[in-house]
């Protein structure tokens, strides 16, 4: 590798000889691609004619790793897929394993799981808001949201000892009970959070520049959204009132009251509003759970070595912050999963990006990457 990089003969810098179009490689080292997404763009001036996402720069073979370890050892690996929403990844995985083994989770564990998952949803949405805003050029919400996210992560740290890669759930229940005083701190934050959300909204929601940048950008009609398999806030932003927490309730979500917000036009602004309301609804769910937190065990009775039945297969999906995160697990009678496939919401949602940014400008593209709320750790796994 000592020889200097040989330059190709003049290739007109990717300009097509007979047209105005230019090829632009957007990423993987680009500040707005949230990691290592690469988009091959064909642009005419600043207008995008065609885009082709290139992914896989963060591929770590997680699904192969799953096959090598017993069920419980895979939980830390799930943390590292969507690394800003580890609790929901854990929840989806242990949910699938529980379904496979027939484990029943005690009510206290279920309630704490809901609290953790909703805290994680808020923290993931806060991070999304921070990066989305900074993509569109508003720098300040980034710091405000991180201020609150820090307190949230402190709660996670108090509970399980980690801030991002939580490893906080086990098949059949939870590894730890809540520490003393945790519920009080959580309730205090929940009382504080709606006011902080108002602050962010004051900076963005009515701001005419923000509206100009988001209203009518990247419209995704509901039929197209369903056709693309888009889930989560993106689907709800398109006006489909579908939330797995309501549709196929898991971990006792049918016992709490909350509303599922939907958008009207399916544009970037609607998705922004949907996520903002979702955070408020999460606060509402957490408050209910803190109120009714039952006493009792936090771990179900489970076999010492967890083995799936021979030829057993299961698919279990939950509502993650970014959409449906599901695990398809095949068992073969050993303690390891025979096959464990992840349905990553970011991966499927990212698929709709070329459709969204057809005819958009480069400036819209960063808004659209922000609004799809991708985490490349999950896209590439």
């Amino acid at each position: 590798m000592t020889q200097p990089l040989a330059l190709p003969e003049d290739d007109h810098d990717g300009l097509f000889a007979d047209s105005e179009e230019m090829e632009l490689s957007f990423g993987p080292q680009h500040p707005a691609t949230h990691g290592v997404l690469r988009l091959k763009l064909k642009i005419n001036g600043e207008r995008i004619v065609e885009s082709y996402p290139v992914i896989g720069y963060l591929h770590r073979g997680t699904e192969k790793l799953f096959e090598l370890h017993p069920f419980f050892q895979n939980i830390p690996h799930t943390d590292r897929m969507d690394y800003v929403a580890a609790a929901t990844n854990n929840q989806a995985y242990v949910g699938a394993v529980e379904k496979l083994l027939g484990l029943v989770v005690p009510p206290r564990a279920r309630c704490i799981r809901i609290i953790l998952a909703e805290l994680q949803r808020i923290s993931s949405h806060l991070l999304w808001l921070a990066t989305h805003a900074i993509d569109i050029g508003a720098m300040t919400p980034f710091f405000y949201t991180f201020r609150e996210r820090e307190i949230l992560l402190d709660l996670f740290e108090d509970y399980c000892g980690a801030r991002l890669t939580l490893n906080c759930m086990r098949p059949g229940g939870l590894p730890y009970d809540l520490p003393v005083g945790w519920t009080g701190r959580c309730a205090a934050l929940m009382a504080d959070l709606p006011g902080k959300l108002d602050e962010y909204e004051e900076l963005l929601t009515n701001n005419r520049i923000w509206k100009k940048r988001t209203v009518g950008i990247g419209v995704l009609p509901p039929e197209v959204a369903i056709d693309y398999g888009v889930t989560g806030p993106m689907l709800r932003g398109s006006g489909v009132r579908w939330d797995l927490r309501k549709a196929l309730p898991y971990d006792g979500y049918d016992e709490v009251e909350f509303e599922v917000p939907i958008g009207r036009n399916g544009d970037t602004y609607d998705r922004y509003i949907v996520r903002m309301i979702e955070m408020r609804q999460s606060v509402r769910i957490i408050n209910q759970c803190l109120e009714k937190l039952p006493e009792g065990p936090i771990m179900a009775k489970r076999p010492r070595v967890m083995k799936a039945g021979k030829d057993a297969e299961i698919y279990h999906g939950i509502e993650g912050p970014k959409g449906e995160i599901g695990f398809y697990i095949v068992g073969d009678g050993t303690p390891n999963p025979y096959r464990c496939h992840v349905r990553p919401p970011s991966f499927i949602n990212l698929q709709s990006l070329p459709e969204l940014c057809k005819g958009a400008l480069i400036a819209d593209l960063v808004a659209l990457i922000g609004t799809t709320d991708i985490v490349l750790g999950e896209v590439d796994r």
Binding site: H69, Q73, P76, N167, L203, R208
Partner: protein, 162 residues
């Protein structure tokens, strides 16, 4: 009503209330308390359950190697042999090697969770987070003695280094 609406629309166009609301918010924040932690001088106390650097208690350890087996990435290396204890005359397991390759450790805590002794003989709850180092093999590959004596973080501030 239409008139009122159009008046408001014009006022909205001219007076830019939304932009001024944002400006007011950022201006207010200038005088609020800051959240920055001045790191080397101020340090945040990690929570009690914080998963940091490992500790090992060799006397408590029963050499069952469950921690090594439970580790998802196999970074705990344990060798032991049996030896007759001259005092009691019983056969005891003696650790030859208990190494942890911290470079790859992801601090999941499954080793601690799997440990059958009570209290645990390997634990991560040491409230330590300053593990950065200039020499990975020297400082991030810890053996048995280091695990037992390990209690201070590396020197960081000027006074500590001096």
């Amino acid at each position: 009503m239409d008139l009122w609406k159009s008046v408001r629309k014009v006022a909205d166009k001219l007076l830019l209330p939304d932009l001024f609301a944002g400006l007011a918010l950022t201006f207010k924040h200038m005088f609020r308390e800051k959240v920055t932690v001045q790191y080397p001088e101020q340090r945040l106390e990690p929570s009690h359950r914080f998963r940091g650097m490992f500790r090992l208690d060799e006397d408590r350890c029963i050499k069952c190697t469950i921690c090594a087996r439970d580790c998802p990435i196999d970074i705990i290396y344990i060798d032991w042999h049996q030896e007759v204890n001259p005092e009691t005359g019983k056969k005891d397991k003696v650790l030859d090697r208990f190494d942890i390759d911290l470079q790859r450790c992801m601090f999941c805590g499954l080793c601690e969770e799997g440990c059958p002794t009570e209290p645990k003989s390997i634990w991560l709850t040491t409230k330590t987070y300053e593990l950065a180092s200039y020499d990975r093999w020297k400082n991030l590959y810890v053996d048995m003695d280091e695990l037992q004596q390990w209690q201070v973080r590396p020197a960081y501030t000027d006074e500590e280094i001096a």
